[in-house]
């Protein structure tokens, strides 16, 4: 079988690239090792409850009728209607540090007021930061990496405000500890603070189903349980792939959403000159999921997302212990402005994790550690929200090991490699990267990543 383009991975970026290619009459096949689509943003059903993986909220929210910005761009490129994702805006979110809280909604003016109230000395400095953000072209694929902290330190003189601004942006997208690339910072800042959070009533299923339906309706081929074992090369070009079962497929071009280090591993014998750029990431998470017999609003807990930190300063890094209990994210999928309530109440709490503490544990210890961490994470979270455990009817936990199992990401890293290959080019001239390690972020960003690579290299 021969294709114009073979795409590795049926996540949002790979399928979005596939839609563009199939729409413009390319023979395209998306290969997925797992039994279902989605990659880092998938979904599953467990004991009669539907769960989302990954998605807390869709960033880059834009209300219907919006003509500019990433969401509108994405919908046009994929020939979708706004209603196809049917995003419902958030209620309100917050960044909670000791003695200080910053609240934000999808109305950016509200955050500006919050900064002015909580950090009166910093209002002008915050404005200065916004100037830097607005002047930066984050979609330029050839931006040089610079330190976000350096830019922040140049504008804002209160380290607490710097940490409080970085906290949600790092939690939702930084592959690097302590600091992030300024371009990534701008992408995250705009997508979270300028544009905001939304969620489809049915969660990430809604989005995945629209995307896969579109892809198939255009004649795109999707093969599940079709992991790629090897990318076959010939004279510096990729010429095809070998699947786990030994089957060979040939393609004129290959796009991989597997991650940069993971993709390199598929190319036997190839060591690119810039091998250091392909180092895998180390930032991973544990998430606890609690199904409640009531809605979080009855606890009462009304916030959509709470980014909390108990320590004097914010430590975004791989912890020494299995999970970092100093900080975390509390997500309540119920707390969006739906017309009707969701079926059941949910509290999801996510905390930084050390992959090495999870990967090779014997099964029994692994299960015990999961249970222990569940309680410790909840103990940490209830310092900033009401106790909810007595109302729990079911729970689940995912760990770096779960992430590795279902996404193939080394270390179970969520935001991929520290160094992004933003132009999508690799050591092979017709092998391209899309998705996490290309560097666009979030649900909308991941799809724009696939679209960008398809447009730039495969549709000319």
């Amino acid at each position: 079988m021969s294709y114009d383009t073979i795409i590795i991975g049926a996540g949002l970026s790979g399928l979005a690239a596939g839609i563009r290619l199939a729409h413009f009459e390319k023979r395209v096949c998306v290969l997925e090792r797992h039994t279902t689509i989605g990659g880092l943003n998938s979904f599953y059903r467990l004991r009669k409850h539907n769960h989302d993986v990954g998605l807390h909220a869709v960033t880059n929210y834009a209300p219907p009728g919006t003509r500019t910005g990433p969401l509108s761009k994405l919908l046009r490129q994929l020939r979708l209607r706004w209603d196809d994702f049917d995003l419902v805006p958030q209620v309100e979110s917050s960044v909670v540090f000791p003695d200080r809280t910053l609240r934000f909604t999808n109305d950016f003016e509200y955050l500006k007021q919050q900064v002015a109230e909580q950090f009166p000395q910093q209002a002008d400095n915050f404005q200065k930061l916004l100037g830097h953000i607005d002047a930066h072209d984050e979609l330029d694929l050839f931006q040089r990496e610079t330190s976000a902290r350096e830019v922040l330190n140049g504008c804002i003189s209160d380290p607490l405000l710097i940490d409080m601004l970085l906290c949600p942006l790092m939690f939702y997208g930084s592959p690097t500890p302590h600091d992030m690339d300024f371009t990534q910072f701008v992408i995250m800042f705009k997508s979270i603070f300028y544009e905001g959070f939304g969620r489809p009533f049915h969660g990430v299923r809604q989005i995945m189903k629209q995307i896969v339906r579109k892809f198939k309706s255009l004649g795109g081929e999707l093969k599940l349980r079709a992991g790629v074992r090897e990318i076959v090369t010939d004279n510096g070009r990729a010429v095809g792939v070998i699947l786990d079962d030994g089957q060979e497929l040939s393609g004129k071009n290959i796009v991989s959403s597997a991650g940069s280090a993971e993709t390199l591993q598929l190319c036997p014998g190839d060591v690119p000159d810039n091998k250091a750029d392909y180092a895998p990431g180390e930032i991973s998470f544990v998430e606890t999921i609690s199904v409640l017999d009531r809605h979080p609003s009855e606890l009462p807990h009304h916030e959509t997302i709470v980014f909390y930190n108990h320590a004097d300063s914010f430590h975004y890094e791989c912890p020494n212990e299995p999970v970092d209990l100093r900080s975390g994210i509390i997500c309540s999928p119920n707390n969006f402005q739906y017309d009707e309530p969701l079926d059941d109440g949910r509290i999801r709490i996510t905390a930084l994790a050390n992959p090495a503490c999870w990967m090779d544990l014997p099964e029994e210890e692994y299960v015990a550690q999961k249970a222990r961490c569940f309680d410790e994470i909840a103990d940490s979270a209830v310092k900033v929200m009401p106790e909810f455990r007595e109302f729990t009817v079911d729970t689940d936990v995912f760990t770096p090991r779960t992430i590795r199992k279902f996404t193939g990401h080394l270390n179970g890293c969520v935001y991929g490699a520290p160094h992004k290959l933003r132009d999508g080019c690799t050591h092979l001239e017709n092998l391209y990267l899309c998705g996490t390690d290309q560097g666009f972020l979030g649900i909308v960003g991941s799809m724009l990543s696939g679209i960008t690579i398809a447009n730039r290299y495969l549709l000319k």
């Binding site: 009459e25 509108s72 761009k73 046009r76 020939r79 447009n455």
Partner: protein, 87 residues
């Protein structure tokens, strides 16, 4: 195709690119960019849709002709004169 048919083709392409847009009040002499906030990715898509549907090649330095409905139709008339309408 005559100019009216070409106009319908362009409307159809615009409707496929921006399905949420109400095109009934489109002003043929005002730039798409202004009326619909089309960006360069969208213009490239108009070009690609024309290529896909009618196999016409529009060189990059002539994209500027696609600014408004009027200029687009005028530009396409000679290219699509001998093409049968699909509508």
């Amino acid at each position: 195709m005559n100019p009216d048919e070409i106009r319908l083709v362009i409307l159809d392409i615009l409707a496929s690119i921006a399905p949420d847009e109400d095109l009934s009040n489109l002003d043929d002499d005002v730039a798409f960019r202004e009326q619909m906030e089309l960006d360069s990715m969208d213009f490239l898509d108009i070009v690609m849709e024309l290529r896909k549907r009618y196999r016409v090649q529009i060189p990059e330095d002539e994209y500027i002709q696609l600014g408004t409905m009027s200029s687009t139709v005028e530009y396409l008339v000679p290219m699509l004169r001998d093409v049968q309408s699909l509508a």
